[in-house]
Structures are given as structure tokens and as C-alpha cells.
């Protein structure tokens, strides 16, 4: 067994005072000394972008890395709905406490209380900060900020910029970054992928990158490394994540000793456009606001191939309204997703593939008129029509759940530090704030909270308390050389397999295994099968993958192969974690743990913990460490949406 001890470092004191006390107690770096520190930030999404800008403003030297051609492309840009904050502008009874409570409850009591409270506290500052940057939030006629209710919340606390809130917040962070680029405080490295984390004598000292354009490997030394690399949803091959979203950076950190927490917690979003065929590369999400007016249904009869318009009212099953009369179509994401799967598994799916359910606006159009619906959802309807060639004003939309967000990620303490000193994880890449299920409009909030308002304090504390002012490691250290050589060898190995199967064919197969056994509903036998199948697929991959070209210059297949190799390990860990967690909670539904009415049943007695996995070697069973989650301020209740 290893000597890793999970210390959450949650400060003492009253919940509402923890962060303020902690801020005061943390050590500071003298302003003149900040310029003597260098920070590597991997990823330029909301977390990475905001952290880069803020740390540079403080005076640190920031090296920012992204895989795309510009920091502005990070996938945070695709978030549609909005960002939550307890400003209580609408005067509808919102408060920091309520936002905290909703987030903890929404996460099905598997998040760390103190982190969530801090998140709720700084959320208001995020709105102020973004407004000051010139983010064009929606406004009322009087010029004040507009709010809406989102994802079934009982208060209107979501700020938004049309259907492009993620884009606007990201561009705000990006422009703040560019401001610092102009001042020479941030060095942006585009089209570079982190391929290794360098740890020297227990402290993170830098990374190895591979230049996607030239194929060159480079050493980058720094005093700390911030991983802001997003989630790992692409392990399923088909997801709403961007094509280059991957888990490799987090995986490298895992292999260097950072624990990976709750990998099985994935969010499957109910309103996505269904899969159309084998060559499909990604799924498109439509805002869940559609469920405010659309009614979800399937035919009552199995294998009903009639057109939706020919199915009479009495032969339709509005299953969400039937099963959850008080929440109806607005049940949380995981419940809506699972029920869609049940309907499809029951042979009542619709569309040419039979893997979809209807989201029907007929009644809403009848009630409010087509114009009103057009005003509310015009953009979404247009997007749907562009992709499917069907007019949702006439024919009901077909939707199906898709992998959207991963709540699991690198285990971090209250300071956002992983179990490897000097290696921090921010945003979706860490695990701490969303528990087993994330609420709508909370991902943007968390990414920006970590980057703008948490890491600027906790990073300084790390530098000051570890005495890093004088303790420096340059990139000519043998550990860097070793890491560089190992990375090169790994890529060469991939190039030299010369097998017969394409990278994508492996990725697709992995995706199918994951979707089938580690998807919306999981059981012991299935998870064991998945672990077995993934291990087999992985060994086949290393024998039979076909990667053409050379290590020099652009080689897209090589890039993909490297990421898929990591997914083949990560997928297994997800299955292992899901197997270990013999309870249903949030996005994780274990068939063995359900109520008589087939609803998720939590087991707080045995599983009120974060499961943090420690790497023990390739093809070895990892060690499981448990961080007990203590709820001192909220009472644990079973969710019910009946």
C-alpha cells in the first residue's frame, strides 16, 4: 500500500466563514517576488483562461498551453444555458445558502460541502467580474441584468447571453488573457499537447509537450502546473464534447501519483439529437430549456412504425408526466435520461433507428402560438432542422440522451491541489463540486470560480509555504530528460505497431462497451464484462493499431492514437469505480440499488465518500482511497420527483 493520505484541508470554523478564514491564514508571496515564479497552465477554457489571466495580473509568469489553434476555441465555448449566481436580483428568495443547498442536493450528496459553499460564495463575484469585462449579458429594458430559471430550479438565478453564455464568458476570459499576452505576462503555446507531467522529488516541476504541427517534443519547467483540461466524456466516443477533448493530461497526472476521484460519475444529458449512423463523429446537445414546453412521449405499442401524427392521443405514453406527476417533463437530467433508455429498451423507441423518443411541441404551439415558440426556441429549432432535415414545428423532435459532462476527475483538496504537490486541477478536470450529478448552469460557475477566485490565493500559499522562492528546478534536470525520452518512446511505439485496425475503430469499440455497460444504468455483471472487454481491447490496440506517417509534422492519427490509448485505461477505471460503488446516486445508477418504484436508491451508510483511485502500475488493480464526506450543515434526504 502506498502512503497517500487524503487530506481535504478543509479549514475549521463555521461553513460560511471557512473561506474567509482560510484566505487570511494562507501565506502570501511578496508582489516583487511574484515575477520570480512561473506557472504552467494546461488548457484555456473557463478555468484555464481565467486562471491564466488572473495569475498574470498578479505578476506571475504564465505559460499557457492549448491543443487548438487559439485559446478561444476551448470547449467551454459550447455551453449554451447560462451561469448561476445567488445575486437575488429578481427578489425571489435566493441566497448563497440556497445556491449551496441546491448544488449539494443536486449532486446527490456526493460533493464536498466546504467546496460547494465557497463556490456559491464567489459566484456573485463572477457575475460582477464578467460584467466589468464587457460580457454582453442579457438585459432588461431598464438596463439591469436579466435572469431566468434553469434546469428546474425554483428561483431565477441564471445569467445568460442568448444561447451562447459559455462562448461569451470564455471570450471574456480569453480577452483578459490577451490583455496579459500584450503585456508579456502570458506566453501562449497553441497547438501543443501535454504528454507528460514532470515530478522531481515529490514536487511538480513541469511538463513535456508535443507540438502538433512539427511533432517536436519540448520540456517546460515551472514552479507549479495547473491542469484545466476539462472532462473525459470522449471515452464514450460519441459525446457532446469537442473532438479534441481528452483525458490524457489528467491521466498522466494520475500515473504520476495524483488520485482520480469518482471516475464513474458521468452526466448523460437527456435532450441531444439522436445518433444517425455509423459514421457519426459527435452528438449535439440542445438546451434543456426545451423541456419547459416540449412533452416527452413514445408510442404505447412496441414496434409502432406509424408517423407520429398518425398516432392518436390515447396511444401515446407521456411517460415522464405519468410517472412523475409533480415534476413531469422537468425531472432532473439523470431521471429523464434513464427513462428514455427504459422506453427504448422496451422496444418503444422512435425514428428510423428506434433509439430516440419524441419531444413534442404540438400542444405548446396550440397553446401559445407558433410565434411565441419561435421566439423562445427559434435558434434551437433551426439547429435541429439543419442537422436532421425535419421541421420541429410540424414533426415532433426526436431526442436521446448523450454523454455530456463528467463530474469525476482528479482528486483535489480545498486548495485545488491534487495528491501530487504543485499539480493543481481546476474546472471539470477536478471532482469536487458537483458530486454525483451537476445542475444546469453550474459548470460555467465552477470553472470561473476556480480560475478567477480560488487558485490566485491557494497557489500563492503553495509557493510561500513550500519555500519555492529559492528551490528551483530547471529543465535540464535528468527527470525532464527521462520524461522526454519516455514520451518519445511511447509515440514511436504507437507508430511502429503497424497493425491493421484504425485508431477510430478502437475508439468506437471502446465507446460501445462504455455506453452499453458503463452508461445510463449499470450492474455488477455488466461492469465485470466491461472491465474484461476493455482490457482485451487494450491489449489488441497495442498489437494491432495502425498509425501511419511519421513523428515529424502534422500527424492526426498519431495524436488520436495517444489519446485513445489513455481512454482505454481510463475506461477501465471508470468501470472499476462503478463496480465498487454499489449504490445509485446522481448520474450513477446501479440496477441492484433501486426502490420498489425503480428509482435510484442511495446508500449513505456505506458510500458517503469520494472514491479516489491511486495508480499502482499498468494492468494492475489501483488502490482505492476513500474521503469520507461529512455533512454538517445539510440533512441527507432521498431525492423524489414524484
Amino acid at each position: 500500500m502506498s502512503n497517500i493520505k487524503l487530506d481535504s484541508k478543509v479549514p475549521e470554523g463555521k461553513l460560511s466563514e471557512k473561506w474567509d478564514n482560510h484566505k487570511f491564514k494562507m501565506k502570501l508571496v511578496n508582489p516583487a517576488n511574484k515575477r520570480k515564479f512561473k506557472v504552467i497552465i494546461v488548457g484555456t477554457g473557463l478555468a484555464g483562461g481565467s486562471a491564466a489571466a488572473t495569475l498574470a495580473e498578479l505578476g506571475y509568469n504564465v505559460e499557457s498551453f492549448c491543443i487548438q489553434d487559439s485559446p478561444r476555441r476551448a470547449h467551454s465555448i459550447a455551453a449554451q444555458g447560462g451561469v448561476n449566481a445567488a445575486k437575488n436580483y429578481p427578489n425571489d428568495g435566493d441566497s448563497i445558502w440556497r445556491l449551496f443547498y441546491d448544488t449539494v442536493k443536486g449532486g446527490d450528496y456526493r460533493s464536498r460541502e466546504a467546496n460547494v459553499y465557497r463556490l456559491a460564495q464567489v459566484a456573485n463575484n463572477i457575475i460582477d467580474q464578467c460584467a466589468a469585462q464587457g460580457v454582453p449579458f442579457a438585459r432588461e429594458y431598464g438596463g439591469t441584468l436579466a435572469n431566468r430559471s434553469f434546469g428546474g430550479a425554483q428561483v431565477s438565478r441564471t445569467f445568460y447571453a442568448r444561447g451562447q453564455t459559455g462562448q461569451q464568458l470564455l471570450l471574456g476570459a480569453y480577452s483578459s488573457m490577451m490583455k496579459e499576452v500584450n503585456k508579456g505576462k502570458i506566453n501562449v503555446h497553441t497547438r501543443k499537447e501535454m504528454v507528460e507531467l514532470v515530478v522531481v522529488e515529490g514536487k511538480t516541476r513541469g511538463i513535456i509537450t508535443r507540438d502538433i504541427v512539427t511533432g517536436e517534443f519540448e520540456k517546460h519547467a515551472a514552479d507549479a502546473v495547473l491542469l484545466c483540461t476539462g472532462g473525459y466524456g470522449n471515452v464514450y466516443f460519441l459525446s457532446t464534447n469537442a473532438m479534441t477533448s481528452n483525458g490524457s493530461a489528467a491521466w498522466k497526472a494520475y500515473k504520476k501519483g495524483a488520485c482520480f476521484a469518482n471516475p464513474c460519475f458521468t452526466q448523460i444529458h437527456p435532450t441531444c439529437i439522436p445518433v444517425h449512423g455509423e459514421n457519426q463523429s459527435k452528438l449535439t446537445l440542445m438546451s434543456e430549456s426545451l423541456r419547459n414546453d416540449g412533452r416527452v412521449w413514445v408510442p404505447k405499442k412496441q414496434g409502432d412504425t406509424r408517423k407520429p401524427s398518425e398516432i392518436p392521443e390515447e396511444e401515446r405514453d407521456y411517460y415522464l408526466e405519468r410517472k412523475y406527476p409533480s415534476f413531469g417533463n422537468l425531472v432532473p437530467r439523470d431521471v429523464a435520461s434513464r427513462n428514455a433508455k427504459e422506453a427504448v429498451d422496451d422496444g418503444r423507441g422512435v425514428g428510423s433507428t428506434g433509439v430516440a423518443v419524441y419531444l413534442d411541441f404540438r400542444d405548446a404551439i396550440k397553446r401559445d402560438g407558433e410565434q411565441a415558440i419561435r421566439e423562445r426556441y427559434g435558434n434551437l429549432f433551426q439547429m435541429y432542422e439543419r442537422i436532421t432535415d425535419e421541421d420541429p414545428y410540424v414533426v415532433p423532435m426526436r431526442i436521446y440522451p448523450a454523454v455530456h459532462y463528467t463530474m469525476g476527475g482528479l482528486w483535489v483538496d480545498y486548495n485545488l491541489q491534487t495528491t501530487v504537490p504543485g499539480c493543481f486541477a481546476l474546472g471539470e478536470a477536478n471532482f469536487s463540486d458537483h458530486g454525483a450529478n451537476r445542475l444546469g448552469a453550474s459548470a460555467l460557475m465552477q470553472g470561473l470560480a476556480d480560475g478567477y477566485f480560488v487558485i490566485p490565493y491557494t497557489l500563492g500559499n503553495y509557493f510561500a509555504s513550500e519555500g519555492l522562492m529559492t528551490d528551483k528546478v530547471a529543465d535540464d534536470h535528468p527527470e525532464f530528460e527521462k520524461a522526454l525520452t519516455e514520451s518519445k518512446e511511447r509515440f514511436n511505439k504507437l507508430l511502429n505497431i503497424n497493425g491493421s485496425r484504425t485508431v477510430d475503430s478502437f475508439h468506437k469499440e471502446l465507446g460501445k462497451i462504455m455506453w452499453e455497460y458503463v452508461g445510463m444504468s449499470r450492474n455488477e455483471a455488466g461492469l465485470k464484462t466491461a472491465i474484461e472487454k476493455i482490457a482485451k481491447l487494450r491489449s489488441e490496440f497495442w498489437k494491432d493499431v495502425k498509425v501511419l506517417g511519421s513523428e515529424v509534422g502534422v500527424n492526426v492519427e498519431l495524436e488520436k492514437a495517444n489519446r485513445v490509448a489513455d481512454f482505454l485505461e481510463l475506461g477501465e477505471l471508470m468501470a472499476r469505480d462503478a463496480l465498487e460503488r454499489r449504490e445509485s446516486c446522481g448520474g450513477h445508477f446501479r440496477e441492484e440499488s433501486q426502490t420498489e418504484e425503480n428509482e435510484a436508491k442511495r446508500d449513505d451508510e456505506n458510500f458517503c465518500h469520494a472514491a479516489a483511485w491511486e495508480y499502482t502500475g499498468d494492468n494492475q488493480v489501483p488502490n482505492l482511497h476513500k474521503e469520507e464526506l461529512k455533512y454538517e450543515n445539510v440533512e441527507l434526504t432521498q431525492r423524489s420527483y414524484k
Binding site: 460582477d128 466589468a132 438585459r139 495502425k546
Partner: protein, 255 residues
């Protein structure tokens, strides 16, 4: 219910191994392309076939595949992002094409956008324009309450229209002069319309225009092809606003 059909296509694709090398148009034949597939999925299919045949796949930029990240590009049959209005390449679907069609695919072309490989180009120049002034100089932590800054709905909406730019550079690609004016003006407009942008209003437009010129983009001749190709429908009234802002700024500025 699905009207899926399969297409056979002739593709003419620009192949160039690197920035220093000479490129050429290469012909490919691709069978069995579903009309349900997106344009990039069609290219994926081609690449999968090329890899199986042991040939180098076509390099092209793409990421989110939902029309918002701005990474995808491509000149399709001589039009930026293809024929459909307000649609990025990743959202363009093959049902817009017919069986037996020849499709010409080229990279964006501009002096400021050197080709990296095949259909990939380097658009760093756009970041450089933003770095020259496309922001409000406000540090984290000292912001006042968001509602202390009132923004009239009309200006907020206009600013949002401009801010919708995804930085894909279709405007530059489609402009016969390879001008980046629509891109630059979108950011200048957004900030000129909002109270937050007033303090640096003059210096911003001067710096950004100067940078844009320095990077070797062409001049605007008011043909509006940029607006017509813009996947987000950004209006050339933004260019007029930038022109006005610039004129005002050089009269008012003291240096």
C-alpha cells in the same frame, strides 16, 4: 421517416505537406456518403479510407462540431463554409449535395494565414488583433456590482450581435481582398457599444486597426461578401461603426 440516401462524390482537395512545400489539387473518389452525414464526417470517412489504403489522411481543423468554436474552416466549391447561409462547415450536411457532384475543397487563403498542412492554416493573426486591444483593461477582483453598470437593452442586443463572432475567419477567406475588417470591427463594436468599453474606446480602435494593417490583411471595398459568408450573420454595419470610431479617435487622440 429518414430520407437517407448514399452519394458518390468526386473530391478535389488541396494537399500540401508543409508550409514550405508546394501544394496541389488532388482528386479523390468517395462512395457511400450518407446524406445524413455532416461535411466533416464525410472527410472523416475519406480519411478512414485513406488510412486503410496506407495513404496520408487529409489534415483539416475542427473541434466542437457544433458550430461555435470557430475552428473549422474550408473553402467549399469556392465559398467559405460552403453554400448554406449562416452555417459553419461542421454544420453543413451532405444532403445539400447531389450524387455525382464534384466538390472542390481548399484552405482559407490570405497572406496573414500561412498554410500549415493541407487544409489547416495558421490564424494566430486574429489573436494578435485581439491582443492589441480587444478587451477592457480590468483586473480580477475589483469589479463593482454588476447591476451598477446599466446597459440599455438596445445596445446590449447590438453588442451581443457583434460579440457572437466565433473567430473562424470566413470573413477574411471570402473577402476578395483578404481583409479582416469584419472580425476586428465586431470586437471594436461590442466594446464601443457598452459602457465598460468607453475609457479605452479611442486607443482601442487605433491599436487594433494598426495591428490589423501591420499583419498584412487587405483593405475593405464594401462588397459585403464577409457578411454573406459569416456563419453568425455579423453585419457590416459594424465595419461602418469601426470606420466612424477610427475617424473620431484620430481626431480626438492626443498622441
Amino acid at each position: 421517416m429518414s430520407n437517407e440516401k448514399l452519394l458518390s462524390l468526386n473530391l478535389k482537395i488541396w494537399r500540401q505537406t508543409g508550409n514550405k512545400e508546394k501544394g496541389e489539387m488532388v482528386d479523390y473518389r468517395l462512395e457511400g456518403v450518407s446524406t445524413e452525414a455532416s461535411f466533416l464526417e464525410m472527410l472523416d470517412q475519406l480519411n478512414e479510407e485513406l488510412v486503410e489504403k496506407g495513404q496520408d489522411p487529409v489534415a483539416f481543423d475542427h473541434d466542437c462540431r457544433e458550430g461555435i468554436c470557430g475552428m473549422c474552416s474550408l473553402m467549399i466549391n469556392g465559398q467559405a463554409h460552403g453554400p448554406e447561409k449562416e452555417t459553419t462547415t461542421c454544420q453543413l450536411h451532405m444532403r445539400k449535395f447531389n450524387d455525382g457532384d464534384t466538390i472542390v475543397i481548399e484552405p482559407w487563403r490570405a497572406k496573414a494565414f500561412p498554410v500549415i498542412k493541407d487544409l489547416m492554416v495558421d490564424r494566430t493573426a486574429l489573436d494578435d488583433i485581439i491582443a492589441a486591444g480587444g478587451y477592457v483593461n480590468v483586473n480580477t477582483g475589483n469589479a463593482q456590482d454588476a447591476n451598477a453598470i446599466l446597459v440599455g437593452k438596445e445596445n446590449a442586443d447590438l453588442a451581443m450581435d457583434a460579440a457572437a463572432c466565433i473567430g473562424c475567419a470566413a470573413c477574411v477567406a471570402s473577402c476578395k481582398n483578404a481583409s479582416a475588417m469584419l472580425f476586428a470591427s465586431a470586437k471594436i463594436s461590442q466594446l464601443a457599444l457598452l459602457p465598460q468599453g468607453q475609457v479605452e474606446r479611442e486607443q482601442r480602435v487605433i491599436n487594433m486597426v494598426e495591428k490589423m494593417d501591420e499583419l498584412g490583411f487587405g483593405n475593405c471595398t464594401n462588397e459585403a461578401e464577409c457578411e454573406a459568408s459569416c456563419p453568425k450573420g455579423i453585419d457590416i454595419s459594424n465595419i461602418a461603426r469601426m470606420n466612424r470610431e477610427y475617424l473620431k479617435a484620430i481626431v480626438k487622440t492626443k498622441n
